[in-house]
């Protein structure tokens, strides 16, 4: 049975997940340089060992209010679209927005979760104030609900 692995994390008290194949690393460094006049969901820029990573505020992106960086906050650094192609991710379209290295700022990192693909249910129109278009599906875990995010939408940018 096909299984999916998710990197999970918390924003406020809700659990979200993204496919582990798109994740490059989790970074503790939250010395993010803000970029004035950038769209609100752009938290700023981070130095990842000499490479500049654009950090998107995951909360703001999915429609939640902006808040300060917490001591538990982490940056989930994603692979670029080229890299995820190489690592054999099937749905490369999902990462089509990631030309450069992008990171997501989240409140707290959760466990790695493996679920059967059948267990992923279609998303509700709206979940906890989060616009349905950002949600790929939901998984009922033992204690809580895992909201699987749609990276294609998270990484979308306003066309110039």
């Amino acid at each position: 049975m096909a299984q999916s692995q998710f990197t999970t994390f918390y924003i406020d008290d809700s659990l979200y997940g993204i496919d582990v194949r798109y994740v490059r690393e989790i970074n503790r460094n939250t010395d993010i340089t803000p970029v004035e006049l950038a769209p609100p969901y752009v938290r700023g820029l981070l130095n990842l060992r000499g490479q500049i990573v654009t950090i998107l505020d995951c909360a703001v992106r999915i429609g939640l209010p902006v808040k300060d960086v917490l001591s538990t906050s982490r940056c989930i650094v994603l692979k670029t679209s080229d890299e995820s192609k190489k690592s054999g991710a099937t749905d490369t379209d999902e990462m089509s927005g990631a030309h450069d290295i992008i990171g997501l700022l989240i409140d707290k990192i959760g466990d790695m979760v493996i679920v059967d693909e059948e267990a992923i249910e279609p998303p509700p129109a709206n979940s906890g104030g989060v616009d349905g278009k950002y949600i790929q599906g939901v998984v009922k875990l033992e204690k809580e609900l895992l909201v699987v995010l749609r990276l294609r939408e998270i990484l979308s940018h306003d066309s110039v």
């Binding site: 950038a38 000499g50 490479q51 927005g97 306003d158």
Partner: protein, 956 residues
């Protein structure tokens, strides 16, 4: 298409493009010098086209093959002197090259591109069927003397008795290479789904099959294990054959023909030279020298980019390492100092304790002594490791530092490309344009070897083409006009690249009509780009710069104003985007010179680090004109409001000001100079600022004009001024965008640094205020500001502002008579009172009379190492002189004079601030600019200039 096929095709396309670029100059040469060009050159063109034909024939791309075939045939007739070179031939060949380029862009689908027109254009020059040319070639080998025979590689061709001498020689003459292939019928042909006949047919297209063993007809029934030996002559290199046939390298044997070539060359030199024979030999010779150039390697740009990134990363890590090592070293020094203190303390207490103990008992003193020694030893050991610098660590650091810098430089070099990549296309551009416009133009190119970053070279092509077109189209006049103007009929365009001041300069020079500044001025005023008044004060060069203004460049203007202007604003913007600048110099009727100044590389730029609200930003040094610091007490006087904008009075000109935190929308806060806290700032204007702390400002952007003028001015300085606070000094970075300037107000100005520019991701494409981002020495990311974008964002409308400023200036002119002046008051022994503006005085010195020396009628004092001439007012002005009772006199030394003379004053009375109302009607004459009532006294205002002129007419 299989992967390796695709790869091979790509390789072929790249090579073919290089071939095409390579022969363009040759064709131009051919056109220019006609019949007299070297056969070498003709052969080069021939070979290039031939290789393209061969290569693409192999892929079955018929259109490319057909067109290049026609071109090849024309060239072969040129080579054999069967046709004369005429412009039409070159035109047709150029058309062919252009079409080939188009087809190369999408080679896989090139067969859908129409080539009829080009082939037909070439057809007239083919005249008789090319076959008729063949006998000429065949004749040559027939005449060959027998001695060549010995040279043929009999061993290699021993198995192929059917291959004749003539065939081999002819192949070599055509610059072909000979190969023997050892194939296995099964694995090399049948298993690949091909029939032997079709297999060899495909090869016939691109090579001459000299022999096949066993004969082709037998192969149809042969067993798959049958070994086939093929000898073929082709222009393809061994590796292409290898890839194309999917053969392993060992199955392809190159037959060495160099000895044969040498002999051929020798034998032909000794006999009567037939032009085409000579040519063929030269082909062989070139071929050999070409293969030797193997020290150049083709590297993927991606790889270079990665290396660049890594080098950048290394530089940053190095910076961090140096920082932290230095911190550790200074910590070690600090603990060393602490240890020494500690040691001293212990020693002192030992003395004290033993002293006490001695009175008690000897044993106790000894035990305290040994105890203390032990403690000291323990301390030493505990701290010792910090005292000793890790051996050689600074030397190692220095090495790492140097190697890293060198590595970065070298990697940077790999991205450099000679500018000839762009320049080489211009001979053709000029030729085509000149032809079209019926002008004769000579193009001179200088500095092809100058190197620039690849990305800059790529982006230069369009702006340069534009400028060159302008030069030819609008700059160079028609032949008739040139004759009438007494110029040479042939116009001269020069393209020159050279290094200067760490930048690459590219000049486009023409001896054409130049820019009519008068017409530009009219147009600029008509279009409302500038007021007539402002224009009147501008130099011709300044006026000419208007042609790069966006509003100026319209077609209508161009036809009117002897050219230039179309899209010049676009050119300028593009050059500026590359971190460069554009200057125009033109003499009407004589010609125009356009100079581009470009950075060597885009990746690393020198920039100034500034900060606002504790955040650092980098400003590229290219755009920075100067830094101005306005002390808090001067803010009200120097920063003013014009309409809605704040402006700075800088050397008599008004400079629009922009506050970085406003443009970027950062919340206004300020640091309280007393508590050091950051507080929200309710005030909106700098001119409203009031200092909280009272501190004397030491640093100033103005020279200290009053420092030595007696004690009275100093008192004035120390007088109560509630607005002086060092923390509130305003720091202005004066930035330049083309002809315009503006001031960016920042909080702190830090060092200048070389920074690695990293592009911004797509999410920030809308932020025009940033040119990129960079990583600082401490690892934090900082934004690089785009001075152009900030000006746009701040909505600086220079022209509107300029009008306002004009109006303001007039107001000031009216007020000038009533302005506050600081005046030095003095007397000269008589009853008259004199005054000099403090601003015009460098120093006032008190000198004993005996130090004044007389030479003839003139007086001098020693001033530093030189003697300075003294001037007494009574000698030039109708005033009374000094009474000689005083033992001392004052000497006033003016500033801003090339040859300062000292003015003798009997007594210096005062320095006053006064609203000067100058009266020029009553008192005037040499050395006086008028009079004024100061301190209720009629005072003569001394005019230094005319006084000095009267005293030393030959100097002033």
């Amino acid at each position: 298409m299989a992967d390796h096929d695709q790869e091979m095709l790509n390789e072929l396309i790249i090579e073919s493009r290089e071939h095409l670029s390579g022969i363009e100059p040759d064709l131009l040469e051919l056109e220019k010098n006609g019949q007299s060009v070297s056969d070498d050159l003709i052969n080069r063109v021939f070979r290039a086209v031939h290789s393209i034909k061969g290569g693409f024939g192999f892929f079955g791309l018929d259109h490319i093959t057909a067109l290049s075939h026609s071109m090849e045939n024309v060239m072969s007739r040129v080579r054999d002197k069967l046709i004369r070179i005429e412009p039409g031939i070159v035109d047709a060949l150029f058309a062919g090259i252009d079409k080939l380029r188009v087809m190369l862009d999408d080679a896989a689908n090139s067969d859908s591109i129409e080539i009829k027109a080009e082939v037909e254009a070439l057809a007239p020059f083919l005249g008789e069927k090319p076959k008729k040319a063949v006998p000429v070639q065949v004749q040559a080998p027939a005449k060959m003397p027998e001695k060549i025979e010995a040279a043929i590689e009999r061993d290699a061709l021993a198995a192929h008795p059917s291959i004749t001498q003539e065939k081999v020689i002819e192949a070599i003459r055509n610059g072909k290479l000979l190969y023997e292939l050892a194939l296995t019928l099964g694995s090399d042909i049948l298993d690949k789904g091909k029939k032997p006949a079709a297999f060899f047919d495909a090869w016939e297209k691109i090579s001459i099959i000299l022999d096949v063993i066993p004969p082709l007809e037998e192969l149809a029934q042969a067993l798959p294990s049958t070994q086939i030996l093929v000898v073929l002559a082709t222009v393809l290199e061994a590796d292409l054959i290898e890839q194309g046939l999917g053969l392993s390298a060992e199955k392809i044997i190159s037959i060495d023909t160099s000895e044969l070539k040498r002999q051929l060359l020798h034998s032909e030199k000794t006999k009567d030279k037939e032009p085409h024979v000579d040519a063929a030999v030269k082909v062989a010779a070139t071929k050999q020298s070409e293969t030797k150039i193997e020290d150049v390697l083709r590297v993927r740009v991606k790889l270079l980019d990665d290396l660049m990134n890594l080098a950048g990363e290394l530089v940053l890590s190095r910076n961090q390492l140096i920082q932290s090592v230095n911190r550790k070293l200074s910590e070690a020094l600090e603990s060393d100092r602490m240890f020494k203190d500690l040691d001293r303390t212990i020693a002192q207490s030992f003395v004290a304790v033993t002293d006490v103990a001695r009175r008690d008992s000897q044993g106790m003193a000894a035990s305290i002594a040994s105890e203390t020694a032990r403690i000291r030893e323990a301390y030493k050991q505990a701290l010792g490791f910090r005292l000793v610098d890790v051996p050689g660590v600074s030397a190692i650091m220095q090495d790492i530092d140097m190697v890293t810098s060198m590595l970065q430089e070298d990697i940077m070099q790999t991205r450099l490309q000679p500018i000839s990549v762009v320049f080489s296309k211009f001979p053709r551009v000029i030729r085509d344009l000149a032809k079209k416009l019926d002008k004769e133009i000579n193009l001179t190119i200088v500095g092809q070897e100058v190197e620039l970053d690849k990305s800059i070279v790529e982006l230069l092509s369009d702006p340069l083409t534009h400028l060159i077109r302008n030069s030819v189209d609008h700059g160079i006049e028609s032949q008739a006009k040139r004759k009438a103007a007494g110029k040479k009929v042939v116009g001269q365009v020069t393209l020159r690249a050279y290094h200067e001041g760490g930048k690459v300069h590219i000049e486009i020079l023409d001896d054409g009509a130049g820019i009519n500044a008068e017409r530009v001025r009219e147009k600029a005023i008509e279009k409302g780009l500038v007021t007539a008044e402002a224009c009147a004060r501008m130099s011709e060069t300044e006026i000419q710069q208007f042609i790069v203004q966006p509003g100026f460049s319209t077609a209508e203007v161009v036809s009117d104003v002897s050219g230039r202007g179309v899209g010049m604003d676009v050119v300028k913007t593009n050059i500026e985007r590359l971190g460069g600048s554009l200057e125009i110099e033109s003499t009407f009727g004589k010609g125009t010179r356009i100079i581009m100044k470009l950075p060597l590389t885009l990746a690393i730029i020198s920039s100034l680090i500034i900060s606002v609200k504790g955040r650092r930003f980098a400003i590229p040094q290219v755009g920075i004109e100067e830094l101005v610091r306005i002390r808090a007490s001067d803010i009200t006087a120097r920063i003013e409001r014009v309409a809605t904008a704040e402006v700075l009075r800088l050397r008599g000109k008004l400079l629009p000001l922009v506050r970085l935190e406003d443009v970027l929308g950062m919340n206004p806060t300020f640091v309280d100079p007393v508590t050091g806290e950051r507080k929200p700032d309710k005030r909106s204007r700098w001119s409203d600022r009031r200092g909280v702390a009272r501190k004397k400002e030491l640093d100033d952007d103005q020279p200290k004009s009053t420092a030595n003028v007696g004690t009275k001015t100093d008192e004035r300085r120390q007088g109560p001024d509630r607005r002086v606070a060092i923390a509130n000094a305003v720091k202005v970075v004066v930035l330049r965008i083309g002809e315009q300037r503006y001031g960016l107000i920042v909080e702190e100005v830090h060092d200048s640094e070389e920074i690695v520019v990293k592009p911004l991701s797509i999410y920030m494409k809308t932020c025009s205020c940033y040119a990129g981002a960079t990583i600082m020495g401490d690892g934090m990311v900082s934004m690089i500001l785009d001075t152009n974008g900030i000006s746009r964002l701040a909505g600086l409308k220079y022209n509107e502002l300029e009008k306002e400023i004009e109006a303001e200036k007039e107001k000031f002119a009216k007020q000038a008579a009533k302005q506050i002046h600081e005046m030095l008051l003095f007397t000269n022994g008589g009853a008259e009172h004199f005054a000099l503006s403090l601003a015009s005085i460098a120093r006032v010195e008190k000198v004993p009379l005996e130090t004044i020396q007389r030479v003839g009628s003139k007086e001098y004092i020693n001033h530093g190492d030189e003697s300075m001439r003294l001037v007494r007012l009574e000698e030039y002005l109708p005033v009374s002189g000094a009474t000689s009772s005083d033992a001392e006199a004052y000497v006033i030394i003016p500033k801003n004079q090339a040859h300062p003379l000292g003015i003798v004053a009997g007594n210096v009375d005062d320095v006053v601030q006064t609203e000067l109302v100058i009266d020029t009607s009553n008192i005037k004459g040499v050395g006086m600019s008028g009079s004024a009532v100061i301190n209720k006294q009629l005072t003569i205002l001394v005019d230094i200039d005319s006084l000095f002129k009267a005293a030393e007419p030959e100097m002033f």
